[in-house]
C-alpha cells in the first residue's frame, strides 16, 4: 500500500534528461498502481503528479486548467470553462443575512447546488437552513434542518440559513495537514480539490458544519452541469475530497452576486465589498443590529446575521 515511492516532482538539476525519462516512467507506473488501488477509473500521470495549486507557476496553472477542461469535456461531453480569476485588489467580500426576513423556503439551497455543481447523488448541499423556535432564539439545542411544513414560515419558528462563514481566523485552514485549503486575499476560504487528501480534519475543526465530504463518487448529470466554473470554486469535484461554499467565487470575482443572493425571494441576503464605504453591506453593518455566529470562538466570520426589521 505504498504510494510513497513516487518520484520527486521537483525540477531536476539533472540537465541531460537522464533522470526525466525514469521519472516519467516511475510516475506513470505509480499513477497506474494508485489508480488501480483507489478504484478510480484512471488517474493520469499529470493528475497524480500535480502539485499544490499555490506552488504552481503561471504556465503550470495554464497546463493544469487545459488538462482539467479536457477531462471534463471527456466526462460530460460538453465544453467546460475552468477559470482562474484572481482576487480583485481592494476587495474583501462580506455577507449579511437578515433573520427577520428569511422565511425558510430553501430556494437558496437549491440555487447553490445548481450553480456550484454539487453532487446530486449522493446529495451535497453547502447551505443548511435551520428552523428554530422563536421562544428559544438562536439555540442549537432547539433546531432542526429537517422541517417540512405545508407552508413556510411555520408558526412560532424562524429560520437561520448557515454556510461557510468565511472566517478571518479559519480553524479549518489551521488544521489542514497538507495546506490544501487557505484564505484568499479577498477573504474567500478555498479548497484545492486536487491536493486535498480527504483526512477530514477540517470538518472536525469547523464550528459551522460548513465543510462537506464526497463520501461517494459525485454524480452530476451532464445536462445539469454549470459549465462556467473556477478552479477554486464550482468545477466538478472528485470522490474522497472536501468541498465548501466559496461565495460563488466564479461569479463574485466577475462582479456578479452569489446565486443564493440572486434567488432569495425576500431579500434577506446581502453581499458586497466590505472595504467600499458606499456598499450595501457596509450600510447593514453600520446601521443594523448585527451578530456573528458562535462569536465566542473568535473565528471572526465575514458572514454576519442581522435583524433588518
Amino acid at each position: 500500500m505504498s504510494t510513497e515511492q513516487d518520484p520527486q516532482p521537483q525540477p531536476s538539476s539533472c540537465e541531460g534528461g537522464c533522470d526525466v525519462s525514469r521519472r516519467v516512467f516511475l510516475g506513470a507506473a505509480v499513477a497506474t498502481v494508485a489508480g488501480a488501488l483507489t478504484g478510480c477509473d484512471h488517474i493520469s500521470e499529470a493528475e497524480f503528479l500535480q502539485r499544490n495549486f499555490r506552488e504552481l507557476s503561471k504556465q503550470e496553472v495554464k497546463d493544469v486548467i487545459a488538462r482539467l477542461e479536457q477531462e471534463y469535456k471527456e466526462k460530460f461531453g460538453r465544453d467546460v470553462y475552468v477559470g482562474n480569476e484572481p482576487p480583485i485588489p481592494g476587495v474583501i467580500f462580506a455577507y449579511a443575512l437578515d433573520l427577520s426576513r428569511c422565511v425558510g423556503c430553501r430556494r437558496c439551497v437549491y440555487a447553490c447546488v445548481k450553480e456550484n455543481n454539487q453532487s446530486r447523488d449522493p446529495q451535497i448541499q453547502w447551505i443548511r437552513v435551520l428552523q428554530m423556535d422563536k421562544e428559544e432564539g438562536v439555540n442549537l439545542e432547539h433546531d432542526t434542518a429537517y422541517y417540512d411544513p405545508p407552508e413556510v414560515p411555520a408558526e412560532g419558528h424562524f429560520y437561520m440559513p448557515t454556510a461557510c462563514q468565511q472566517c478571518k481566523k479559519p480553524p479549518c485552514v489551521k488544521v489542514c495537514p497538507v495546506g490544501a485549503t487557505w484564505r484568499e486575499k479577498d477573504g474567500i476560504v478555498v479548497v484545492d480539490y486536487n491536493w486535498c487528501i480527504g483526512c477530514r480534519y477540517c470538518m472536525a475543526a469547523c464550528p459551522y458544519g460548513a465543510r462537506h465530504f464526497n463520501w461517494g463518487e459525485p454524480h452530476l448529470p451532464a445536462d445539469e452541469l454549470n459549465p462556467h466554473t473556477h478552479y477554486l470554486g464550482n468545477r466538478p469535484r472528485y470522490k474522497g475530497v472536501v468541498e465548501k461554499c466559496t461565495f460563488c467565487i466564479q461569479r463574485t470575482r466577475n462582479g456578479r452576486y452569489p446565486a443564493c443572493v440572486e434567488i432569495c425571494p425576500t431579500g434577506s441576503r446581502k453581499f458586497g465589498n466590505i472595504l467600499d464605504p458606499t456598499s450595501e453591506i457596509r450600510m447593514v453593518l453600520e446601521h443594523k443590529r448585527v451578530f456573528k455566529f458562535k462569536e465566542d470562538l473568535d473565528t471572526q466570520p465575514n458572514f454576519f446575521y442581522f435583524y433588518g426589521v
Partner: protein
C-alpha cells in the same frame, strides 16, 4: 562489507526462524492471514465506492477507524511504561521485557498508520503529506506533528529492536553508550506521540467535548494502564511457551503501577464529569449523550457505563495486593482494563465529540460491516507483525539462536543456503 554480510545472514536467519514453527503457530498465522484477506477485500470495496461504504457522514466525519487509531497510539506510547523503570532505575527484573514493549510499540504503530491510511479519502495522494516531497503544513497542523512524531517513534523503536537483536545474534554485547541515549530519548518521544494525538482533538474549539485541558493527561493515564495490560497477558503466555524467564516480581510490579494509573484515569474522568454536569452549560450535551442519552438516542450509554464499571473493578483488583498477586484475578483485571480503555479511548472519545454535531443534529453512528472487516484486517496485520517479531526475537534473546548456534550444522559465512 563484513558487517553487511553478517547483517544479511541475520535477516536470512530471522526469516528462517519465522517460517519454521509448530502446528499451532501455523494455524495462528493462517488465521491472521484469513482476517487480513477479508480486510483487504472489504478495503478494496471501500476504495471502489468511496468512504460511503462506511457509516461515517458529514455529521460524524470520523468513526471506528480513528477511534482505533487513537487507542493504538496509547498502546504504542505505553511501552515506555516498562522502559522507564528498567533503564532509569536500573531495575533488573523488568529489563528483559522492555524489548517486548518496544516490539509491541512497533506493531501498534503499524496498526495506527494502517488506520489513518484507510480513513483518508484519497490514499493515492498520500505523498502530499510527506515532508519535503509533499507539502506538510507544519507547525500549524497538529496532524502534521502527529505524522512526524509517530514516524520518528516507529523508526526509533525499529532501530533499537533490530540493533539489540543483531547484537544478540552476533553474540556481542550491545554498546550501552548507543542504546541508553536512544532508549532515554524514546521516553519523551512516547509521551509526545500521545500528547500530540490528544492535542489533535484538544485544539478544536468547535468540539467542546474534546476542547478540555484534561484530555492529554487523561490520554497518558489511560494508555499507561491499557498498554501494560496487553503485555502482562503476553508475558505469561511467553513464559509458558518459551524458555523466556520472566520473574513474578516484574509482573506484579507492573500491575501495581497499573493500579495507580487506572486510579488516576478514573479520577480525571470524574473531574471532567463533575465540571460538565455541575456547571451544566450548553457543552454538557456531549457527555449527556455519552452517559445518559440525548433526545431519545441511547446508543452509547451501555458502552459508556461498561467502560466505567470495568475500570473501577480493575482498579480495585489491581490495588488490593491479594488479588494483584493472584493469577486469575490479575488476568481478569487485565481484560477489564483493556475493555474499559478500548471503549473510552475509541468510540467513547470520537463519537460524542461529533454528537450532536456543530449545528445541533444527532446522527447515530454505528460502524458498517466494511469498517469492522477493514479494522479486523488491520488488527490482524498488527498481530502478525508482532508474532513475526516475537518468533524471531525470542530465540535470539535467549541466546538459543545466534550466528554460531541453533542450527543442525554450523553455518557458512554467507548464511545463505544453510538449513
Amino acid at each position: 562489507m563484513n558487517i553487511l554480510r553478517t547483517f544479511g545472514s541475520f535477516i536470512a536467519d530471522s526469516g528462517r526462524l519465522v517460517l519454521k514453527g509448530g502446528r499451532l503457530y501455523y494455524a495462528w498465522v493462517a488465521f491472521l492471514l484469513v482476517l487480513i484477506l477479508l480486510g483487504a477485500w472489504a478495503y478494496t470495496g471501500q476504495l471502489h465506492t468511496g468512504l460511503i461504504a462506511t457509516h461515517m457522514r458529514d455529521q460524524v466525519s470520523w468513526g471506528f477507524y480513528i477511534g482505533n487509531f487513537t487507542f493504538l497510539v496509547g498502546i504504542a506510547a505505553a511501552s515506555i511504561m516498562l522502559v522507564i523503570p528498567a533503564y532509569v532505575y536500573d531495575w533488573e527484573p523488568i529489563k528483559e521485557i522492555t524489548i517486548l514493549g518496544e516490539m509491541l510499540a512497533i506493531s501498534a504503530l503499524v496498526m495506527c498508520l494502517g488506520f489513518v491510511l484507510v480513513d483518508i479519502g484519497r490514499p493515492d495522494r498520500f505523498w502530499h503529506i510527506m515532508p519535503f516531497v509533499g507539502h506538510l503544513n507544519w507547525p500549524s497542523s497538529l496532524l502534521a506533528w502527529d505524522v512526524l512524531v509517530l514516524n520518528s517513534y516507529l523508526l526509533l523503536n525499529a532501530f533499537v529492536v533490530t540493533y539489540l537483536l543483531y547484537c544478540a545474534y552476533t553474540e556481542k554485547h550491545y554498546v550501552k553508550k548507543l542504546v541508553l541515549p536512544l532508549v532515554l530519548f524514546s521516553i519523551p518521544l512516547a509521551v509526545s506521540i500521545h500528547t500530540v494525538t490528544a492535542y489533535l482533538y484538544n485544539g478544536l474549539a468547535a468540539r467542546p467535548f474534546w476542547n478540555s485541558a484534561i484530555l492529554a493527561p487523561k490520554f497518558l493515564a489511560s494508555a499507561f494502564c491499557s498498554g501494560p495490560a496487553i503485555l502482562l497477558i503476553l508475558l505469561q503466555i511467553l513464559r509458558k511457551t518459551t524458555k523466556l524467564r520472566i520473574q513474578d516480581e516484574a509482573i506484579f510490579k507492573v500491575a501495581e503501577l497499573m493500579a495507580y494509573t487506572m486510579g488516576f484515569n478514573l479520577f480525571l474522568t470524574a473531574a471532567e464529569a463533575f465540571k460538565e454536569f455541575y456547571s451544566s452549560t450548553q457543552h454538557v450535551v456531549y457527555m449527556q449523550y455519552l452517559y445518559f442519552g440525548l433526545k431519545g438516542h441511547h446508543t452509547l450509554v451501555p458502552f459508556a457505563w461498561t467502560s466505567v464499571a470495568c475500570g473501577l473493578a480493575a482498579f480495585i483488583l489491581f490495588l488490593v495486593p491479594k488479588t494483584r498477586r493472584n493469577w486469575i484475578t490479575l488476568n481478569i483485571g487485565c481484560v477489564l482494563i483493556y475493555s474499559s480503555v478500548y471503549i473510552e479511548k475509541g468510540m467513547g472519545l470520537i463519537i460524542p465529540g461529533f454528537t450532536p454535531d456543530t449545528l445541533g443534529e444527532i446522527y447515530v453512528y454505528r460502524p458498517s460491516l466494511t469498517e469492522v472487516m477493514v479494522a479486523g484486517g488491520i488488527f490482524a496485520i498488527g498481530f502478525l507483525v508482532f508474532t513475526i517479531l516475537l518468533k524471531a526475537a525470542v530465540p535470539m534473546m535467549l541466546g538459543e539462536f545466534t550466528i554460531t548456534k541453533g542450527r543442525n550444522n554450523t553455518p557458512t559465512k554467507s548464511g545463505a543456503g544453510t538449513k
